[in-house]
Every structure is written in structure tokens, then in C-alpha cells.
Symmetry: C2
């Protein structure tokens, strides 16, 4: 990406093993993330460009001398952050904050919308999908969502500690919001109110467990949620947008003693948290970048046995040469989420 709206496909040198803990992974599927749209809107023009992408399902091509848990030919899920998965922070289940880990698309570690990727800390980061090959095409999109989007929605629900019988409101009908609906249902939510106004998207939300859809925005939307909850508000709010109006909506529809769990990357730093917003009602605020690595192993069997089908968020496919068109389609909201093939 060379600036807002300016995505180019370029031929670069193949990545190589740089550290003995690296692996080289050949892409089977990648995709475009809602968070990629933030720079697509606002990135200043640059001369050198920024390597993009952080979601990948692929096949191991080569491993460094210190790598022991994956081997050439394994089908692997590449989490959007790499981590050692052995330190205290990783052991706590917060691999996105691993002090030895990091993210893709930096000067040091290229983005994953590419034919080949260098994955640092391969033993800690990569998860092998057992018994599946790159030819099992029906399952591959759902497996790809375990690198980010589905498990980001799952993280929102997990951090909110959803309990059976609770009412959960999901703000945002993008791919993460819909994933949060699916995850909330998995965790036992009784009532799931989806706030969104794109019918094609909220229809998928209903299919995944949303019991109510609120299309109204602002005060009207808030009043609608309060009406649906006898005036008490929602036990849990999963905020999958990241903009201030979504946060404000969150604390206005959450019940006293309830939880707001954010996974939309906040496009703000300061926000209300005092007596009139969070404190007075004993609201808990949680969430952050999803440590998907913590959840992949338990999610794989659910994809393989058909319990969950999170790959349905993909409603368009482009080849890697057409990635710019994929960005444009998502930006125009013509596509919910775009799959990238090589």
C-alpha cells in the first residue's frame, strides 16, 4: 500500500530463513481484513509502500534448524501475531502481547498477502491442521478465519465471560461482528441482539444465532435495545467497530454490572469512563487484540466437524493479482470479506 486507496501488486524477492526459529510458508489462502481498511482510508502517500496482510492458511515449505513442531508439507494456520508461546504472558493466554513476538507488515516481517511468508518463532506461532490437505477446499476458508477474524470475534465473547442465559448485544455487522455473534451463540448466550443495517450481513448474523436485529443508529438504536431488555440493558456488549460512537452506544445499552468487550481497534485514545459512563453502573470494560493462538487448537475440531462455519464471512474471492480490487470492494461495502487465492 502506497497511500490511501493505492494498493499495488509487486514482485519481490522470496523470503528466506533468517533465524533458526523461522519457517517459510507457501500461501494457500489469505484475505483482506477490516483493519486493512483503516490505512486504505487515511495512509499518507509514501515512496516505499507498506507490505500488507496478516491472515494466512498455508503449507510449510522450509523450516529453520531450531524448528521442531512443524515440518515441510504441513498445512498450517498462521495467527496474525507471532509469539514464542512459552513466556509468562503467552502462558496466561495473551500471545498478542508476547514480549518476543510481533506483527506482520513491518520493515522486518513482510505482510501475508503474498505467495510466500517468513514466519518468525514458528514453533510458537504455527498450528498444524491435522488430517487435512490444501485440496480439501470446502473447509479451507473456515480454517483461514482461525488466523484472525473468527477468533477475534471469539475473543470478544471469551473476555466478556458470557454465561448461559445472558443477553448479548453485538455492535457492528462486519465480519468480526458476525463472528462475535457466532461465538456468543457457541458460549451459550440466550438472546443475541445484532446492531447493524446491512440486511445481507445481518441475515448471516441471524443464521449464526442473532435473535434480534436493530438497524437504528444513535439514540433510536439505544432505545430499541433498552426496549428489548425491559429497560435494563444487555448483560454483555461486544463492540466490533472501534469508533467512538460505537463505544458510546456500548455503555448506554449495557446493563448495570455488565461487560463491554472491545475487539474493534479503537480509533481514539481518550473516552468517558467516569461516574456517568462506566463507574456509576459498575461496568467492566475488556478486550484487545485477540490472542488467537490461544484458541486455535480448540476451534479446529469445531470447524472440521461442521459445528461452526465461520468461512461464510467470505463473499468474494480474488487472485493475488486482483488484491487491489478486493480492497476496493470491501471499502465500497460491496463485499463483506474478500478471500485471496494464489
Amino acid at each position: 500500500m502506497y497511500g490511501a486507496g493505492d494498493v499495488r501488486v509487486e514482485t519481490v524477492a522470496d523470503p528466506t530463513i533468517q533465524q533458526p526459529t523461522d519457517a517459510i510458508v507457501r500461501t494457500v489462502l489469505s484475505c483482506v481484513c477490516g483493519s486493512d481498511l483503516h490505512p486504505y482510508h487515511s495512509m499518507p502517500a509514501t515512496e516505499h509502500g507498506q507490505s500488507m496482510g496478516h491472515e494466512l492458511l498455508g503449507v510449510v515449505e522450509e523450516i529453520g534448524s531450531a524448528v521442531s513442531t512443524v515440518k515441510k508439507g504441513d498445512l498450517v494456520i498462521v495467527p496474525f501475531a507471532f509469539s514464542d508461546n512459552t513466556c509468562q504472558i503467552c502462558t496466561d493466554g495473551f500471545q498478542t502481547a508476547c514480549p518476543h513476538g510481533g506483527f506482520y507488515g513491518t520493515p522486518d516481517t513482510a505482510g501475508l498477502q503474498a505467495e510466500l511468508a517468513r514466519v518468525p518463532l514458528a514453533d510458537g506461532s504455527l498450528v498444524v491442521v491435522p488430517g487435512i490437505t490444501e485440496n480439501d477446499s470446502a473447509l479451507l476458508p473456515s480454517l483461514l478465519t482461525l488466523s484472525d477474524v473468527y477468533l477475534t470475534g471469539y475473543h470478544a465473547a471469551h473476555m466478556a465471560r458470557i454465561q448461559a442465559g445472558q443477553t448479548v448485544t453485538v455492535i457492528g455487522d462486519g465480519a468480526v461482528g458476525l463472528s462475535a455473534v457466532l461465538a456468543a451463540k457457541q458460549l451459550g448466550a440466550e438472546r443475541i441482539i445484532l446492531m447493524g443495517r446491512h440486511t445481507s450481513r445481518t441475515d448471516l448474523g441471524r443464521q449464526w444465532g442473532a435473535t434480534d436485529v436493530v438497524a437504528e443508529r444513535g439514540e433510536d438504536g439505544i432505545n430499541k435495545v433498552l426496549d428489548l431488555t425491559n429497560g435494563s440493558g444487555s448483560h454483555v456488549v461486544l463492540e466490533a467497530v472501534g469508533l467512538m460512537p460505537a463505544y458510546e452506544q456500548s455503555f448506554k445499552v449495557v446493563r448495570a454490572g455488565g461487560v463491554i468487550s472491545r475487539v474493534g481497534v479503537p480509533q481514539y485514545e481518550e473516552a468517558p469512563i467516569g461516574f456517568m459512563s462506566l463507574f456509576g453502573k459498575n461496568i467492566t470494560l475488556t478486550g484487545g487484540p485477540a490472542p488467537v493462538r490461544a484458541y486455535i487448537e480448540q476451534a479446529i475440531p469445531l470447524v472440521l466437524d461442521g459445528t461452526i462455519d465461520p468461512g461464510k464471512v467470505f463473499d468474494r474471492t480474488v487472485s493475488i493479482d486482483d488484491v487491489p480490487a478486493g480492497y476496493a470492494a470491501m471499502d465500497a461495502r460491496e463485499a463483506l470479506k474478500v478471500l485471496v487465492t494464489v
Copy 2:
């Protein structure tokens, strides 16, 4: 209170039953709260004054016709907020947000630094102390702390879901902060770092379970806590101050994936919660006005059998005629917390 620094003792009409759900309680012990000092610092001068106090241990004098769970002569703890204790919000354990409840010191419901009090929603609010009379003087101060201060510290620890073996940092060496130390110890914290610089207070903190005391403030204090935790920070931070520097200290000493639990009433509304403060590290922010009513029954036996002795926060006693001197002593930090007798 007629304005900053202006507390007066006045003779007013005795309270009377106004609703069939009311009770009249005769004061045995009351006290001055850290939160009473906020208006003591900043209240504009007024003509009519503000009735003060919200912590009370007393004896039931009279009950309304609909009251069934307490009777004349019962020794009762009066929680700092009244509540019906039957609605959904109360059943969830958040009685301070009861839609039918409220607080003392309003035009409708007088403050509790008084000889007699009208307690609305007596069945929901009052808790009888079984087998104890107002003559068992050694236990009474600790029982009084269950109306607010100890259980406010407990609420901080409870909302943080402290687990055995965790490191807990307590910010603030006031009566609530010290109570939070005692509660954290009760809940199994392995290491308790108390940030405070008044030795007489931090000595009580050590007695109650603090393993480390950090007297430094600002960056020095933050670095000291990080040093004590191998650079990772504290699993849990209990923030018992309510001022912005204490909040900023909180997110700088908390570990990735950790919890900040606030019970100091925030003297701010907006604060940092974005990627650089809470979100990036998956920090959970929780807390609010303590629903002490939810915790009183389980705390009474611990006081009666000597497991906890939270009444040690009282280091001065004044008669009700000397309440103004009690405010002055707490404001000057000559007293940690002032007991009021009638």
C-alpha cells in the same frame, strides 16, 4: 456541610416512618468517609447545607407496617446505599444500581452522621447481626466497616477476580486501600504491593498482608513495581484513590491481560483507554460503587470469629458533637478514619 471546610452540628426533627417499607434506626456508631472529604475540599458555600454521612451500625427503633425481616431492638448494619434487594439488578449483585434504591444525604433521605436515621426499603437494605448487642464494643467498629469501607475494598478485589498466586498492586494507603489489601489477602493473592507513603498506614497494610510497600510516586513508583514483577507488571491493580494520576499509574503497572479494579470515585470522566493504554495490552477495567449489601452476610462471621479485623482503620473517635473536628483531622491526614459515637 455548608461549604468547603464548614461542617456544623445541628438539632433537627427526628426522622419518622414515611413509607410502610421504612425503618427508623438509632445510631450506635457512624463514621467519616474519604469520599466525604471531596465536598469538604470543594463544596460551594450554601445557605441550606447538606446532610452528611452514609455509614451506620445501629439498633432498630421502629419499623413500617410492611417491614418483616427486622424488628425493634435488632442490631443492624446499614449499607451506604439502600436497595430493594429483589429486582434483577440486585439479584445480579449490583445493589448500588437498584432502580428503586438510592443514597443518603439527599433532600429526601438524610445523611447518617446523626442520632437517628430513616432507612428506606428496610427489608432489602438492613442486615441483622445475630447474637451481638450494642454492648459488645470490641466488635462494633469492625461490623461498622461492613456498611462501606471494608466491603468497598473487598468489592475491588472481588471484581478483579483475584486468583490464588497472583500479584496484586494496591494504589492508595487510605482506609479503602488498606481494606483492599486485607480483602486481596483473603482472596488468595500471593504478593501484595501497596503503593503509599504514610508509614503508619502502610504498617497496617503490612499487618493485613502487604508483602511490599512502594513509597515512590510517578515514574519512580511505576518502575519500582515493574522491578518487583520481573518487568511484567501486576496481574491485578486495585485503585482506591480516584484521581487521574492513580489511574495512569494503574495502566502502567498492570500486566498484559491483567485487571484494573477501581473503587476510588473517579474525579474525572474522560481518560485514556485506547491502544496505548488499555486495549493494546488486553487490560480489563472494572469496579464502581460497591454493592456492599451483596457481601455483608458472608463477611459478618469472619468479623465475629476474628478472621478479619477491618475496624483497625479507625484511629480516632469523636462524639457526634465533635464531628467537625473529625473531618478536620482526616483532611489533615492526622487521622486515617474517624469513628463517630452518639
